[in-house]
């Protein structure tokens, strides 16, 4: 595993989360580690059910009742976050914030957006009512909401999807975080609004030197926003590296499968080939490498040994793949 | 017979075990041990004419002052004596207005505002001598003219429920200030008893110059108490002491706070909780538990009430004398009294209650005997029995209990009874239109004279209720009743009534079930409180220790 880079803001080591199904606990996130330096965006990509948003919620200790953080440590700008729910929340103030997928249900329907933003400076930072309101309007302007002072009095259901998502971001920024966790914030938006929000996030990343972790199942969104990317499958990291390299020359059959499954506008003729088989259920994960039943490289060995996330021969040091046949993918 | 009663709705819905239908004389009995004996003690130095005579002198061994808090079940709707028959009104206005004669606790007539009377040879003219020195609560003296005005008003007001009582009076005239002469159309033995009825209570002539409504808001009477600003159907009413009361030194207490609590359970709780010092209409079922409470006293007072199972002789099955006798034999009144009234009432025998004048203990009643019942039924036109319907007032727990006992006991001799409970107003309308087969209700005498019960329940033609709606029509019995009305010699009257009681007992038009007492409960701090068999209680003689 790569040593902790000097300007890393967020360092995640071996985070493991179990989920209760019936009365059996299954591992939904298996020893996930990654680092995010200030001012850079890391993409976390995988199908729904791959444990990517569960990982994010684990960092914020917002796990649903059935889930539990089994192991792992999180370092924020060097100091480790405590494990207990209450202590974590206090420790996170002004350090790490999170935004969610559905903008309407992420906002309190019976409170004006202005109040929902102002509540952070008012309650958390103890600013006065007037100062908090001004801060809220300022943040609304920052996230690109026109006529901010009037719109601050609006209720969530009176705003469009994109506008609402900007308010959610404004709320996150109100906590003055150094790290921003995004759980598929653009999935519920239509394409044009999605692009604007991504631009906003990119702009905030550079201007505020924010470290961003962006979870999505959309490779195109990842390519646009994130310099680095980790691919997750059944709770495990299967491939990491710089986004461009991973998309150009994937070192893990699953990533290859993902790329083949999308429509490549440059090659309209080639029909997309979906990955055979189905995503295995948490209760019945296959042994060894969990992707082997659907993997065209699968050999006898894959069914027994659990592949390690290790760099491939001849590839860049920060490139890694959890596949014992990774070297066979290097040669074009 | 003035067994007039009507529901004061408030009462009816309470499901306490005791009867809720209010007779004109609501059953109000209080258990003060000693009768308020009125000893003669003219009190020197009170500056009152010593000639007050024996009556009304105050006792020395009493503590004065204080307010009696009294929870009653019915709130008064008016204080006008001539215009009401509701018990809630009667027992409030009889503390404010007084008649010429009153009924004592022992059920006898006693001179009150009149000291006595003389009768003409043809027994058609009565001259009353008014008690001297009596004043109204506004200080003005009582005059003969007030008496003439009050009784005429009661007699003339056709809408007045009791106006028929004074039918015998042709004219009244005042003779000077202290004599009143009454001319009757024919000799009428119960006359003095009729005069003692509360409707004939005395008030200032022409309401002392005020309008009628205004007068009855702040009534002026000769009674021991006065009322200011009366509001009908209020939750409470305060009676203040009348400083001009003609019995010097009385009433001993300063005021009476009547609280009107229609729920039996609530009255009991307010007594046990110390919120009130006396309550009326105590359910028989509570007598046992109340007696255990050292701070409380329970009083059972004989009453002029008889609970009756009435049979509708308009129907063939009940026109048959043998059927009626069979039913009377079949009902075990001892068991009924034991279960339904917890031994507080006496089992029924003659249709006169034992406490009533001329009650004859030797009346040959039909005793409980299933074999006699079956034998009598066998002789009737319905030997194999029949099914019938028993109408009762559904709102009263006591009647429901009686009905279920009778239902069970008549089933034994082949008479299947189904119950038909109705709410009071419908129940009342049903039996008065003879729309019933059997029904249970109670009859009550309101004045000392036995004629009231005799004529109302036996005189089919002009008793006023077709023999208590049973349509029982026995000419010999009716003739005896009329003779008794005009008979002034007590011995002869007693013989006549004995005969009437035995004929009725044998004809069995209705089955006297029991003679219930008035049941009151009060704190032991209240002394000198008592009730007459008619249900009225005087408060000038009570005191609070």
């Amino acid at each position: 595993m790569s040593a902790v880079a000097v300007d890393t803001v967020l360092s995640v080591r071996d985070v493991t989360v179990s989920v209760l199904r019936g009365d059996v606990r299954h591992t939904a996130v298996d020893a996930v580690s990654f680092d995010v330096p200030a001012g850079r965006a890391l993409g976390l990509v995988g199908e729904s059910g791959s444990g990517k948003s569960l990982t994010l919620r684990a960092l914020m200790s917002l796990l649903p009742p059935a889930a539990r953080l089994e192991a792992g440590s999180v370092h924020l700008a060097g100091d480790e976050l405590p494990r207990g729910v209450k202590q974590v929340r206090r420790a996170l103030r002004g350090r790490m914030a999170m935004i969610f997928q559905d903008p309407l249900s992420a906002l309190d329907p019976v409170q004006t957006v202005g109040n929902q933003i102002a509540e952070v400076p008012r309650r958390v930072h103890g600013r006065s009512r007037r100062q908090s309101w001004e801060r809220a309007v300022e943040l609304l302007r920052l996230v690109g909401i026109p006529d901010a002072p009037r719109r601050a009095h609006a209720y969530p259901h009176e705003l469009s999807g994109g506008m609402r998502q900007r308010v959610v971001i404004a709320i996150a920024l109100a906590t003055e975080p150094s790290v921003l966790l995004c759980d598929e914030p653009t999935t519920a938006l239509d394409v044009t609004v999605q692009a604007q929000v991504l631009e906003l996030l990119d702009d905030l990343r550079s201007r505020l030197q924010l470290a961003i972790v962006f979870v999505s199942h959309d490779l195109a969104v990842i390519r646009q926003l994130c310099e680095d990317v980790c691919v997750m499958y059944t709770g495990r990291l299967v491939e990491t590296g710089r986004t461009i390299e991973v998309l150009e020359r994937p070192l893990h059959p699953y990533t290859l499968g993902l790329l083949d499954a999308i429509i490549d506008l440059d090659d309209p003729v080639g029909a997309p080939q979906p990955i055979p088989g189905a995503l295995p259920e948490l209760e019945r994960l296959p042994g060894g490498c969990t992707f082997h039943p659907r993997c065209f490289l699968a050999t006898e060995e894959c069914t027994t040994t659990v592949p390690e996330l290790a760099p491939a021969r001849g590839a860049a040091p920060d490139r890694a793949s959890a596949c014992i046949h990774r070297d066979r993918l290097i040669s074009p | 017979m003035v067994n007039v009663r009507y529901p004061n709705g408030k009462e009816m819905l309470v499901s306490g075990p005791d009867e809720r239908t209010l007779s004109r004389r609501e059953l109000v009995k209080v258990g003060a041990a000693g009768a308020a004996s009125v000893s003669v003690l003219s009190i020197p130095g009170l500056g009152r004419a010593a000639s007050l005579g024996r009556l009304g002198a105050a006792r020395e061994d009493v503590t004065r002052g204080g307010t009696l808090k009294f929870a009653r079940s019915i709130a008064p709707t008016t204080l006008d004596p001539a215009n009401t028959i509701i018990a809630g009104d009667i027992y409030t206005l009889d503390k404010i207005f007084e008649p010429l004669y009153i009924t004592t606790v022992a059920g006898k007539l006693k001179p009150w505002l009149a000291t006595g009377y003389t009768v003409s040879k043809d027994q058609k003219t009565f001259t009353f001598h008014l008690r001297p020195g009596v004043k109204f609560s506004n200080g003005k003296p009582l005059t003969a003219e007030d008496v003439v005005f009050s009784i005429n008003r009661a007699a003339k007001d056709k809408q007045g429920p009791l106006s028929f009582l004074d039918f015998a009076i042709t004219s009244l005239e005042a003779k000077g200030k202290s004599k009143v002469v009454a001319h009757l159309s024919s000799p009428w033995a119960p006359f003095i008893s009729d005069i003692s009825v509360f409707a004939n209570a005395i008030m200032p002539a022409n309401f002392g110059g005020k309008s009628q409504t205004e007068f009855f808001k702040n009534p002026v009477g000769t009674g021991p108490f006065t009322v200011k600003g009366f509001k009908p159907n209020a939750s409470s009413l305060t009676l203040k002491r009348n400083p001009h009361y003609w019995q010097a030194g009385k009433p001993y207490i300063n005021a009476v706070d009547f609280l009107f609590v229609d729920n039996d359970n609530q009255r009991l709780l307010q007594l046990r909780g110390g919120q009130v010092q006396a309550i009326d209409l105590v359910p028989p079922s509570q007598v046992a538990s109340l007696k255990k409470d050292s701070k409380l006293h329970v009083g059972l007072y004989p009453s002029w009430q008889v609970d009756l199972l009435v049979l509708n002789e308009k129907l063939a099955k009940f026109a048959d004398r043998n059927v009626r006798r069979a039913i009377t034999h079949a009902i075990d009144r001892n068991a009924l009294v034991h279960a339904a009234s917890f031994g507080t009432a006496k089992p029924g025998g003659s249709f006169f209650p034992p406490s009533l004048q001329y009650y004859s203990a030797k009346t040959p009643t039909l005793a409980y005997s299933v074999s006699a019942a079956k034998a009598s039924l066998a002789q009737s036109k319905f030997p194999k029995g029949f099914s019938t319907e028993l109408l009762i007032d559904g709102g009263v727990q006591k009647w429901q209990t009686f009905a279920q006992i009778i239902q069970q006991q008549l089933k034994v001799i082949g008479i299947n009874v189904t119950l038909r409970p109705l709410d009071h107003a419908s129940f009342e309308q049903a039996f008065q239109k003879f729309d019933y087969e059997m029904f249970i209700d109670y009859a009550i005498n309101d004045i000392t004279d036995a004629d009231e019960m005799a004529s109302f329940e036996v005189d089919f033609q002009n008793g006023g209720s077709s023999s208590y709606w049973s349509s029982y029509d026995n000419p010999t019995a009716i003739n005896l009743v009329r003779q008794a009305e005009a008979e002034f010699n007590p011995a002869k009257r007693k013989a006549l009534y004995a005969q009437i009681q035995s004929i009725v007992a044998q004809d069995a038009p209705f089955v006297p079930l029991d003679y219930p007492p008035y049941i009151y409960a009060m704190s032991k701090k209240l002394q000198g409180f008592n009730v007459n068999p008619g249900g009225a209680y005087r408060l000038e003689g009570v005191w609070l220790t």
């Binding site: 919620r57 914020m60 917002l62 209450k86 103030r93 002004g94 914030a97 999170m98 969610f100 997928q101 249900s105 992420a106 906002l107 309190d108 329907p109 019976v110 509540e119 952070v120 309650r123 209720y155 259901h157 959610v168 709320i171 906590t175 | 003035v2 067994n3 007039v4 009663r5 009507y6 004061n8 709705g9 408030k10 819905l13 004109r24 709707t77 008016t78 028959i85 056709k158 809408q159 429920p161 028929f164 509001k231 009908p232 159907n233 939750s235 609280l259 609590v261 729920n263 609530q266 709780l269 307010q270 046990r272 709102g395 109705l422 709410d423 009071h424 107003a425 419908s426 009342e428 309308q429």
Partner: protein
């Protein structure tokens, strides 16, 4: 808002008219004759007929009804047959008692429901939650008057904290005599409200915006306040319906605690067939229900911006 109030006023007028017609028919269908109630058994047919004529009961139902409506229009509710005074004075003396009872009962209901429901919702599926749910389920099957009797036995007779019944004379005793009846009345509707609020809160706790609240760094108490405000709205309409039910149940509560309110007056009047009193008191109670429903909708619109009073 004005247009909405006007529309609701028209609907209320229709409801009041409907209630008046229904009561009028009910009264005239029921057997039992008020004249006989006043004059008693011994009354002569002529006296009965005269009284009925005086009350106008011998004229056709139609004309009686129009006469009543005409009186209503001039604010004259007629004179009580039994008490020989104006119905409006009877109602005026007693409306305060019933209104205070319903108001205090509503306050008690809210004070008991909110903590109980949030206590259960926060500890979902733990011991506390099961106890509260079992209690609220059992509570529905519990006759309110029975609970009243138990309250009297304990708090009035043994602990002497409150009077056994009656209305008392000073405002202080009025309040003390209202506590037990209001608690009894509240108890009749608390089970239903607790169940509704608990479910509402659990649903809101699962909503995404609670995660936003927590990620904002707010303490759990602030989060609970937000959740409560959202969950109260559906329960509020339920409270409105139940307060209307409360107005009806004053009839029973006033009987148990001997309170001289409109409820006991109505019960008496029905059994005495005191037509004008029954007619007017039922109308007043019905208007009370309509007002409560109107207030509920207005408050709901205040609380929830998504509801527009069209």
């Amino acid at each position: 808002m004005l247009r909405y109030t006007a529309r609701r006023l028209a609907a209320a007028f229709f409801v009041a008219f409907g209630v008046t017609v229904a009561t009028f028919l009910l009264l005239h269908l029921a057997p039992g004759d008020p004249a006989r109630v006043v004059l008693g058994e011994r009354a002569s047919p002529q006296a009965l007929a005269a009284l009925r004529h005086q009350w106008g009961l011998d004229s056709s139902l139609g004309s009686q009804f129009t006469r009543y409506l005409d009186g209503l229009a001039h604010g004259n509710l007629g004179t009580s047959f039994i008490n020989k005074t104006s119905t409006s004075s009877l109602i005026r003396d007693r409306i305060g008692v019933s209104a205070a009872l319903v108001a205090l009962a509503t306050v008690f209901a809210v004070i008991i429901t909110v903590p109980l429901a949030s206590f259960a919702a926060v500890r979902k599926d733990r011991a506390a939650d099961h106890i509260v749910r079992a209690l609220s389920v059992a509570g529905i099957g519990f006759p309110a008057f029975w609970f009243g009797i138990v309250l009297i036995e304990v708090f009035a007779l043994r602990v002497h904290a409150f009077p056994v019944g009656g209305w008392g004379s000073s405002t202080e005793t009025h309040l003390r005599s209202l506590v037990l009846p209001a608690l009894t009345a509240a108890f009749a509707i608390v089970p239903i409200l607790v169940r509704s609020l608990r479910v509402g809160m659990i649903e809101v706790f699962n909503a995404d915006f609670v995660a936003t609240l927590r990620s904002k760094g707010l303490g759990e108490r602030r989060v609970l306040a937000h959740v409560m405000r959202n969950a109260l709205i559906p329960t509020l309409t339920l409270l409105g319906i139940n307060v209307a039910y409360l107005i009806g149940s004053t009839v029973v509560i006033e009987r148990v605690f001997d309170l001289n309110g409109l409820g006991s007056l109505l019960l008496t009047a029905i059994s005495q067939r005191d037509f004008p009193v029954v007619q007017s008191v039922t109308l007043v109670l019905a208007i009370g229900v309509v007002i409560v429903n109107f207030l509920t909708d207005v408050i709901a619109a205040e609380l929830d911006p998504r509801i527009r009073l069209e």
